[in-house]
């Protein structure tokens, strides 16, 4: 199967202060890839490069075979991105925020209305659809961010620490939502929580100071804690 997302030698930052250094990764339809690393490992930088928000200093990102920075095709339409801070207009309602995110992704008219209703239902935001986004709890706001990322049914979902700052209840609710994603959607998820990786991912890349240091399958036997401890130790030295 052809990869839906392929990053080659992704590099970002000045040579003396590399935030990301020659990282490779591939994602096929249905893959659930975790990016694990301590704070400052380069997870968010990599997420923003994969989503087309940042431009790499070297290397490339190809989405469904097209360069991410090829504006004639614009592969961004196949990407859904949830940044670390869920983007929302506090003065607009949840429904209005979703409608606006849909417009930005080229949806309009009846398909937009259907997409908004579907996203509200999938993320359990139906009851607060007419509430101002500025009055949502952190958990609800994160769900709104996820709903925006899912709205146009992207082939690839890029999630940057989706459970960061959430209480255990909201964390579990969000994980349930992510587990219920369509099977063909490829997900790349950055986190520093082992539980996120163990519960949501089938593969994990370990990042340390901008470098990819390991890649493992996630299964019942994988000792992620040992790998992560190794990272934390080297990161502190």
């Amino acid at each position: 199967m052809e990869p839906v997302l392929r990053a080659r030698q992704l590099t970002y930052g000045r040579p003396a202060q590399r935030r990301l250094d020659a990282v490779d990764l591939e994602l096929r339809g249905g893959d659930r890839l975790g990016l694990l690393g301590i704070n400052g490992a380069g997870k968010s930088t990599l997420m923003q490069l994969l989503a087309g928000v940042l431009v790499p200093d070297a290397g490339s990102v190809r989405v469904l075979g097209h360069d991410l920075h090829d504006d004639r095709v614009d592969p961004r339409r196949h990407l859904g991105f949830l940044p670390q801070q869920a983007p929302a207009y506090g003065e607009l309602t949840v429904r209005e925020n979703l409608a606006w995110a849909g417009r930005l992704r080229g949806l309009a008219g009846a398909p937009l209305g259907r997409a908004v209703d579907s996203a509200l239902q999938r993320t359990g935001l139906g009851d607060v659809a007419d509430r101002l986004a500025g009055r949502l709890s952190a958990g609800m706001l994160q769900r709104l961010g996820l709903a925006q990322a899912l709205l146009h049914e992207p082939r690839i979902l890029v999630l940057d620490e989706p459970t960061a700052g959430l209480d255990p209840l909201h964390t579990e609710q969000l994980r349930t939502l992510l587990r219920a994603l369509p099977g063909e959607t490829a997900v790349v998820l950055a986190t520093h929580l082992l539980d996120d990786v163990q519960q949501l991912c089938d593969r994990v890349i370990l990042l340390d100071r901008g470098r990819k240091v390991a890649e493992h399958a996630v299964d019942a036997d994988s000792d992620l804690l040992a790998h992560f401890r190794g990272l934390a130790t080297t990161g502190l030295t």
């Binding site: 923003q48 989503a51 087309g52 928000v53 431009v55 790499p56 991410l68 920075h69 504006d71 614009d74 961004r76 339409r77 990407l79 991105f81 940044p83 670390q84 801070q85 869920a86 983007p87 929302a88 207009y89 003065e91 607009l92 606006w100 995110a101 417009r103 930005l104 992704r105 080229g106 925006q148």
Partner: protein
């Protein structure tokens, strides 16, 4: 998509308290200035009539007030524009825009047109106040119309310039400071020297004053259209560079 972004931007402005405060303040100041000018005009009108002067209410009431309105627009535009791209960046919403397939041209033009709508609101409400004076005194309506159209053009130019400066910074306060700095420089540029120096052609006031007097000159139109279009193109280029498309 440009129209949708403009409507979104216009809605974003209307949802902010600062927009309504600025609108109210503009209306209040223009009304106060217009009536102060009117009072002064009423005091000297008999002498002007007796002396056979051709100077009327349009010259002594409307045009000075339009000058004040221009100054207010110069103060308001950076305040409304600072939330445009710098505000999106500061509040973490810029990734929503940059990761979307919406073109940079649509984003830049939509932001500019939306801000222009925001500037037209105080402009038109102030002009309506001036037009109401026409119920009681003789106004040169064609000249007034040219001045209003000129101010609308200046507002569009301001929107393009301020959105460009907003796109250069990630913090609204930095965008605000830069906008005031650039506008102050353009405003004062012709005071630095006398005679026809190259930088005087870039000065704002020599191009605005004829418009406010009701005089349409091609060189003034060219100034606003060319520099405004250049600002819009630079904003598009800036967005493209951020997304790696340029």
């Amino acid at each position: 998509m440009t129209a949708a972004i403009a409507a979104h931007e216009w809605r974003r402005l209307r949802h902010g308290l600062s927009f309504w405060l600025l609108l109210a303040l503009t209306q209040l100041l223009i009304a106060w200035l217009a009536f102060a000018q009117l009072e002064a005009f009423a005091a000297i009108a008999p002498q002007l009539k007796a002396g056979g002067s051709t100077v009327g209410a349009t010259d002594l009431v409307v045009m000075p007030t339009a000058n004040s309105l221009l100054l207010l627009l110069l103060l308001i535009a950076p305040l409304l524009a600072m939330g445009s791209l710098a505000g999106e960046s500061h509040s973490g919403r810029l990734p929503l825009w940059l990761s979307s397939p919406t073109g940079s041209a649509a984003i830049a033009l939509g932001k500019i047109l939306g801000l222009w709508l925001g500037l037209l609101a105080p402009l038109l409400s102030a002009c309506a106040t001036l037009a109401v004076l026409g119920l009681g005194i003789d106004l040169d309506l064609p000249r007034l119309a040219v001045a209003v159209a000129g101010l609308a053009l200046v507002a569009l130019w301001l929107a393009a310039l301020c959105v460009l400066l907003s796109g250069l910074f990630d913090h609204p306060a930095a965008a605000l400071a830069a906008s005031y700095g650039v506008l102050l420089l353009l405003w004062l540029l012709d005071s630095f020297s006398t005679g026809d120096t190259p930088w005087q052609r870039w000065a704002l006031m020599p191009h605005v004053e004829p418009l406010l007097r009701g005089l349409l000159r091609s060189e003034d139109l060219l100034y606003f259209v060319s520099t405004g279009a250049a600002a819009a193109l630079l904003t598009i280029h800036r967005l493209d560079r951020r997304r790696g498309l340029a």
